[in-house]
C-alpha cells in the first residue's frame, strides 16, 4: 500500500504570536518551526499501518520555500521513505494547495492520502476535503481510529463529530484526515536522522506539475485579537453567586 502524507511547515505550537512593528505581517525572527502537529499524527498513523502490514511506501510532501526541507527531513527521520518539495514562495490558500496535491496524487497514485485535519496556523480545516473533491474520491475527516487491513479496498474510520463518534467506511483511494486522538507521534531518534540524510528528497514546481497555484484568498491586514482583561477576584461562593445574580446571569 502506498501513502501520501502532506506535511505543513508551521510555527511551533508554543510560539508567542507577535506582529512586525511595521505591520507587514507576523514576526518570524527567532520563531521555531515544526511539522503541523496534526500532520505528524497523520504520518505516525501511516507508519503504524506499514508496521502492521509489514510493507508499505510512505511519501511525504510539502509546499513552500526551501526551508520546508527541514520538516520533510524530520518526516523522513520519523520513518517516511521519500520526500517531495513543491517549491512555491507566494501566499497560497487551501484550494491552490489542494490543486497541487491533486497533481502529486496523480503522479504518485497512492491508495491513501493521510493528512492533518487542520493546520494550526490558519486553522482552516479545508485542504483534505478539497483534495478529495477535486479527485472525486472518498474522504473521512477528523478521524480518531483507522482500520485498514492488508489488500483492503475499504478503510474503516471513527470520526470525531460535534455530537460524538461516527463510524464510516470509505472506498480506496481516499483522503483521510487525522484528529488529535488518533495516536501520539513518535520522537525522532538520532539513528532516524542519520538514515533520513540518505533518503531521496525531490524538488518540483507547481508549473512542472501543470498547476496554476494562484491563491483566491488574499490577506489584506493582520491584527492581534483584542485581549480580554482580567476582572475581579471574589472570595467566597456567596460573593460569586451574588455577582452572577446581580447581572441576571443565573
Amino acid at each position: 500500500m502506498k501513502f501520501l502524507v502532506p506535511l505543513k511547515r508551521v510555527f511551533d505550537p508554543d510560539t508567542k504570536i507577535r506582529l512586525r512593528v511595521d505591520g507587514s505581517g507576523l514576526e518570524t525572527d527567532g520563531v521555531k518551526y515544526s511539522i503541523n502537529p496534526f500532520d505528524a499524527i497523520a504520518l505516525e498513523e501511516a507508519l503504524r499501518v506499514r508496521d502492521q502490514h509489514g510493507t508499505a511506501e510512505i511519501v511525504v510532501v510539502s509546499i513552500g520555500a526551501s526551508d520546508c526541507q527541514e520538516q520533510l527531513r524530520a518526516g523522513l527521520a520519523m520513518g517516511a521513505d521519500r520526500a517531495l518539495l513543491i517549491r512555491h514562495e507566494a501566499e497560497i490558500d487551501s484550494l491552490a494547495v489542494a490543486k497541487i496535491l491533486a497533481a502529486v496524487f496523480r503522479r504518485e497514485q497512492p491508495q491513501v492520502v493521510l493528512m492533518g485535519k487542520q493546520a494550526i496556523d490558519d486553522d482552516s480545516n479545508q485542504t483534505g476535503q478539497m483534495l478529495a473533491g477535486l479527485l472525486g474520491i472518498g474522504q473521512a475527516t477528523f478521524i480518531s481510529k483507522l482500520t485498514l487491513p492488508v489488500d483492503s479496498v475499504w478503510a474503516t474510520c471513527s470520526r470525531e463529530t460535534d455530537s460524538g463518534l461516527e463510524s464510516v467506511k470509505v472506498s480506496l483511494p481516499a483522503v483521510i484526515t487525522a484528529d488529535l486522538r488518533l495516536n501520539e507521534p513518535r520522537y525522532v531518534t538520532a539513528l532516524g536522522i542519520m538514515k533520513a540524510k540518505k533518503k531521496p528528497l525531490e524538488e518540483l514546481t507547481p508549473a512542472e506539475l501543470g498547476v496554476d497555484a494562484t491563491s483566491r484568498t488574499r490577506t489584506h491586514k493582520l491584527a492581534l485579537a483584542s485581549k480580554r482583561s482580567a476582572g475581579i477576584r471574589v472570595h467566597s461562593v456567596d460573593e460569586l453567586l451574588q455577582k452572577l445574580r446581580d447581572e441576571t446571569l443565573i
Partner: protein
C-alpha cells in the same frame, strides 16, 4: 460602486429531526449581506424526512427553502452532500454558499467549494461590503490574530462562527418550500455510514447553550467530572465542556472538548472549573460574555481572562455551589 446583488445559498444543519440553532447564525449573516447589497438568499436542507426542519426555516425571508429529501441522505455524507450542494449552487447561480461552522459543515463545504472551483473561508467573524467586493474577518493562530481577507472568483464559500452573529430577523411572509430533485442513482457512493454513538446525555450542546460549565485537569476521574461539572450544569440547565487535558486522559469524550481544535463557544456565562487556561483552550471560549474561573492555582492563566475569579479547590467549592443553587 454599487455591488452586483449577490445570490446566497445557506446550507442548513439538523440533528434528529431538529434544526441546529447555529444554522440561524448563517441565516442572519445572509440577511446582513442581502440588506447591504440588495441580494437574496435561499436555504438548502438536505436529509430524509425533514419536512419539519424546512418548515422551521420559512420565517426568515429566504426566497425559497430548498428541500432535498431522499433516503440516500439519511446521514450527512460528504460525497453525496458535496455533490448536491455544488450542483444546487450552480443551478441557482449562487455567488455565495455559507453555513454555520461545525464538524458537519467543515466536512462537506470545502468539498463543495472544490467542485465549484471556489475559494473558501472557515469560521468567518464578520462580512462587510467594500467597493464592489466583500471583506471578511476571521481568526488565525488559535484566535490570536484577526485577518482581514478577500476571496477572488465568481463564487465565495464560507462558514460563519455562530457566536459572532445575532439571531436573524423574522419576516412577515413565509418562504415557499421547493423540492430539489435527488437522483439517488447518480450520486457518488464512496462513503458508507456504519454507526453513530448515541448522544451521551440529555444536556444541551455547548455551542448552543446560554451557560456552559467546563472542567479541566483538577477533575480526577469521570465520576468526579460527572458529579461536579455535570452536577453544576444540571442545576443551571447548562451544557458541559471539557479541556483537552481531560479528553487526552480519557476522562471526557472528544465531543466535549472546547478549544482551538474542538468546539468554539461564546455563551452568556462560561464557568471554568479547575481549568488552567492554556492558549488553545482560551481560543475556544474567550468570546464568552462573562467568564467565571475556579482554580486552586491563583496564578493560572485563566484568571487573566476571567471576569470573576475564585481561588480554591473545586472539590470543595463546586458542591457548595450546587447546594446553594438547588
Amino acid at each position: 460602486m454599487p455591488l452586483n446583488p449577490p445570490h446566497l445559498l445557506v446550507i442548513a444543519e439538523h440533528e434528529q429531526g431538529q434544526l441546529k440553532s447555529a444554522t440561524l447564525a448563517a441565516v442572519s449573516c445572509a440577511q446582513l449581506i442581502c440588506k447591504a447589497s440588495g441580494g437574496r438568499f435561499d436555504i438548502l436542507v438536505l436529509g430524509h424526512e425533514i419536512g419539519s426542519v424546512a418548515e422551521a426555516l420559512r420565517k426568515y425571508g429566504a426566497s425559497q427553502v430548498l428541500l432535498a429529501d431522499s433516503a440516500e441522505l439519511q446521514n450527512p455524507l460528504a460525497d453525496k452532500s458535496g455533490d448536491l450542494i455544488s450542483k444546487q449552487a450552480q443551478q441557482s447561480a449562487a455567488t455565495m454558499v455559507l453555513a454555520a461552522s461545525s464538524t458537519f459543515s467543515k466536512d462537506i463545504l470545502p468539498r463543495a467549494a472544490a467542485l465549484l472551483d471556489a475559494g473558501m473561508l472557515t469560521d468567518v467573524l464578520a462580512v462587510a461590503p467594500e467597493g464592489d467586493d466583500y471583506t471578511f474577518q476571521r481568526a488565525l493562530y488559535a484566535g490570536n490574530v484577526i485577518a482581514t481577507v478577500t476571496l477572488d472568483g465568481p463564487v465565495k464559500v464560507f462558514t460563519v462562527r455562530a457566536s459572532a452573529f445575532k439571531a436573524p430577523l423574522l419576516n412577515d411572509q413565509e418562504s415557499p418550500i421547493a423540492a430539489v430533485d435527488v437522483n439517488a442513482a447518480s450520486l457518488p457512493d464512496q462513503i458508507h455510514f456504519l454507526s453513530r454513538d448515541e448522544k451521551p446525555s440529555g444536556r444541551p450542546d455547548a455551542t448552543e447553550a446560554r451557560i456552559v460549565v467546563s472542567g479541566g485537569r483538577a477533575m480526577k476521574n469521570s465520576e468526579d467530572f460527572e458529579r461536579l461539572v455535570g452536577g453544576l450544569a444540571d442545576v443551571l440547565g447548562a451544557a458541559v465542556g471539557s479541556s483537552r487535558a481531560l479528553v487526552d486522559a480519557g476522562i471526557t469524550p472528544n465531543a466535549l472538548q472546547i478549544g482551538q481544535t474542538g468546539k468554539v463557544v461564546a455563551p452568556d456565562l462560561y464557568i471554568g472549573l479547575g481549568i488552567s487556561g492554556a492558549i488553545q483552550h482560551l481560543a475556544g471560549m474567550k468570546d464568552s460574555k462573562r467568564i467565571v474561573a475556579v482554580n486552586l492555582d491563583s496564578e493560572a492563566p485563566i484568571f487573566d481572562v476571567a471576569d470573576y475569579g475564585l481561588v480554591g479547590d473545586v472539590y470543595q467549592i463546586v458542591p457548595e455551589l450546587i447546594e446553594k443553587l438547588k
